[in-house]
Symmetry: C2
Subunit: 415 residues, 2 copies
Amino acid sequence: MLVIGGGFAGLWATRGLASAPVRVTLLDRTNHHLFQPLLYQVATAGLSAPDIAAPLRHILRRQRNATVLLGEAVAIDASTRSVRLADGTCLDYDTLVVATGATHAYFGHDDWAAHAPGLKTLDDALLIRRRVLSAFEAAEREDDPAQRAAWLSFVVIGGGPTGVELAGTLAEIARHTLKDEFRRADPRHAQVHLVEAGPRVLAAMPEALSASARAQLERLGVLVHTGTPVTVVHPEGVRIGDTPLAARTVLWAAGVAASPLAESLGVPRDRAGRVPVLPDLSVPGLPDIFIAGDLAQVAQADARPVPGVAPAAKQMGAHVARAIRARLSGRAAPAFRYRDYGNLATIGRMSGVVEVGRLRLSGVLAWWFWLTAHLFFLIGFRNRLVVLIEWAWSYFSYQRGARIILGSGKPESRP
Amino acid sequence: MLVIGGGFAGLWATRGLASAPVRVTLLDRTNHHLFQPLLYQVATAGLSAPDIAAPLRHILRRQRNATVLLGEAVAIDASTRSVRLADGTCLDYDTLVVATGATHAYFGHDDWAAHAPGLKTLDDALLIRRRVLSAFEAAEREDDPAQRAAWLSFVVIGGGPTGVELAGTLAEIARHTLKDEFRRADPRHAQVHLVEAGPRVLAAMPEALSASARAQLERLGVLVHTGTPVTVVHPEGVRIGDTPLAARTVLWAAGVAASPLAESLGVPRDRAGRVPVLPDLSVPGLPDIFIAGDLAQVAQADARPVPGVAPAAKQMGAHVARAIRARLSGRAAPAFRYRDYGNLATIGRMSGVVEVGRLRLSGVLAWWFWLTAHLFFLIGFRNRLVVLIEWAWSYFSYQRGARIILGSGKPESRP
C-alpha cells in the first residue's frame, strides 16, 4: 500500500489503515504535515513555520504498519504498478492512494509566478513574508515619493478565503504592527488592494456574508476591487482591467490547478486537472488506484462538486481507508458522501464570517469561532499551546511574533 | 552618528546614546537582532528562528533619535567620512561605530565551506537543520549498509562552546528524539564525532571543567577526538590527522575571522583580522571611528585579550556610547575595562559546565544555571515565554519543536 502525499487526505488515509492487515508507505516531498489553513499567518509573520507543521514520522511513530519516506513522485506507471521518484528510484505498490493536492495556477500566465508568488508551502510563506517585510524596509530607504508609494502598495489577487485573510492581515500590519517604527516612510500610508474578477469576495458564502466581509475589509482599510480581472502582472505593478496600478508587492491567491502527477495516469481530467473518480474514490478503469483530496473531482448529492477544503480532504482520506478495508474483507466499498460542516473565513483583527448550517456570524463572534475551531484542529499539543500564546500576545500587543526576514535579508532584486 | 551592525555591540551602543543629543542611524544587513548564544538550538531544531530574533526597529521603536536601516556596508572611506553600501548608495557619518563582528574562517581552506557549514546567522542555522534532518531521511532510504552508516555519521569540528553544544544535542536527537520513528535505519546507531585540534575541549575553562565536559559528552554518546586536527574535508567525510572517517554531515565550529569590512580602514589588523583599538575603543589615527565587539582587539588588565563573547560585546557597545557622550560634553573618554562574569556552556540534556568567579558547577546544576541565565538575557517578553514553553515541552517529551525541513525538502545534492 503506497500513499503519495502527507496532507490532510494522505495522512487521514494512512491513519485509517492503522489496524488493517497491510503495510502502508507514506511518501511526501517534505518531512512534515502542514496545517494549511494557518499558512497565511506564517506568510504575514504571525506564526513561525514550525508552529503549523509537524514531522510526518513523528505523527505516525506509533503506527507500526506505517513507514514514512521523504521523496518526490514524478510519474505513476499503472501497467507495472510502480511510482518513479525524482531521484530515479522506483517504488512498487499493490494499492495506490494519490493525494498530491493542488498547486497555484496562473491561467496560462506562468511568467506572473515570479512577480506574484502564491501560497501553498512553508517555503512559499517564507518568501511572501520576506517580500512583504522587505517592501516596508525599501520604502524607508527610498527618497522618491512615487517609488516609495509603489513600495507601500500591496496587491492581493483573488477574493477567496486566502486572499481575504492576506489582505486583511496586511492592512493590520501596516496600520498597527509597524506603527511608530519607521522614521521616514509611514506604514500607515500603505495601500492594500484586493482584486477579485468575480462579482463578490468569498463567493462560496451566502451573499449577505460576502457583503459583510467586504464591509469588514474596508473598515480595516483594504481597497476592494470586484468585477474586473487583473490583466497584467509585472515587476512594477499590475493592471486591473485597463487601469494600471504601481505596486512592488503582488500576491497570488486566485487559482489552483491539480497536481500534475495525475497526468501520468492517462485518464480523463477536468479543466482544473482533477481526476473524476468513481463513488468509492477509485479511478475509472484503474481499480487499484484511489484519489483523495484536491486532486479528486467528485460530486455531492446535489451535483455540486465537493470543494477543495481541508475537511473534504480529511473525509476523502478516511473514506479511501474504509474502501480499502472493505475490499480486504471482501465487501463492496461504500460510496463517498461529503458532509459539509460549513464555511469559515477570518479577515483581520476581530473580523470574520462564519456559515455553519443555519448559523451565520460575522465580526467579532465569527472571529472567535474561527480561532477556536482552528486551534482545535491543529495537530499536536505543543503546536496548540505555542500558537495560543502567539495569538494572545499578538492580540494584546498588536505585534506579530515572526517578523524575521530569512533568506537574503535584502529586498530581492526581482527578475 | 552611524552604527554598523545590530548585534550585541551595535545595539548596546545605539541604546547607550538614547538620551544623547545626537541622531543615530543603525545599519544592519538583516532586519533583526539575533540572540546568538541560542543559535545552535535553531540549528538542532529545538527552537524556531523567530524565537531568538527580534526586529531591530521594534526594539528601538521608542528611541526617537534612532533610525534603523536595512543594508549591507561594503567599504568605509575615512577620508570622506562615508560608508558605501552593497546597492551602491553611500551613507555619511560624523562619528562611526563599526560592530560587524566575526564570520567563520576555514584557515585557508575556503573550499571546505560547502561541505562543513558554520553557524553565525539564522540562515546558517536553517541550513544546518536541513542537513542534519535530511541525513536521517537519506539513511532511511539507503539500502547499502556502508552508505547508511555514512549518513548516520556526524562530525563537529571545533571543541569550543558551539561545537560542544552542537555535538551534545546531535547525540540527544539520535538517541532520544528520533527513537521509534524510523523503520529501516535506527537513529540510535548514529555516531557523533567531536574533533578538537587542541589538547582539550572548552579550552577557555579550567582544566577540571574541560575534563568534566568531556566525560559528560561521552556519557551522551559523543566520540571526542582531541589533539589531532581535521586535515581534509570533502563531501563524503573528513580525515582526522591521517585517519579517514566517512560522514555525510560535517559542521564547522572551529574558527572565526573578523568581518572583512575593517580592511577598508587601512589600519593594522591582527592575524584574525581584528583591529587593535585604543583604550577608549577608537581606532588609532581615526578618532571618529570606534570599534566594538568581536571586530575589536583589546587587552584586559592582565594583558589577555578580551574574549569574543556576548557579554564582552555588550560591554564594548555600552562603553562606546559612554565615550561618545563624554566627548560631546568635552570630557576625556574613559578607558574600557572588561568585567568577566564567567563562562557557561551547556552540553546536552541536564549537562553543562559553569565557571562564575570561584563558583564551578557541572552536570545538572550547571545546566539549570545556563538555562536560567539564557532565558533572562533573551530580549523580549514574548520570546522568553515561547522559549520557556518550548524548553519545558522538550524536557518532558524528549521532542524538539522545530523539526521542519525548510528549503528544498530533499537531501541536498552536494557539490
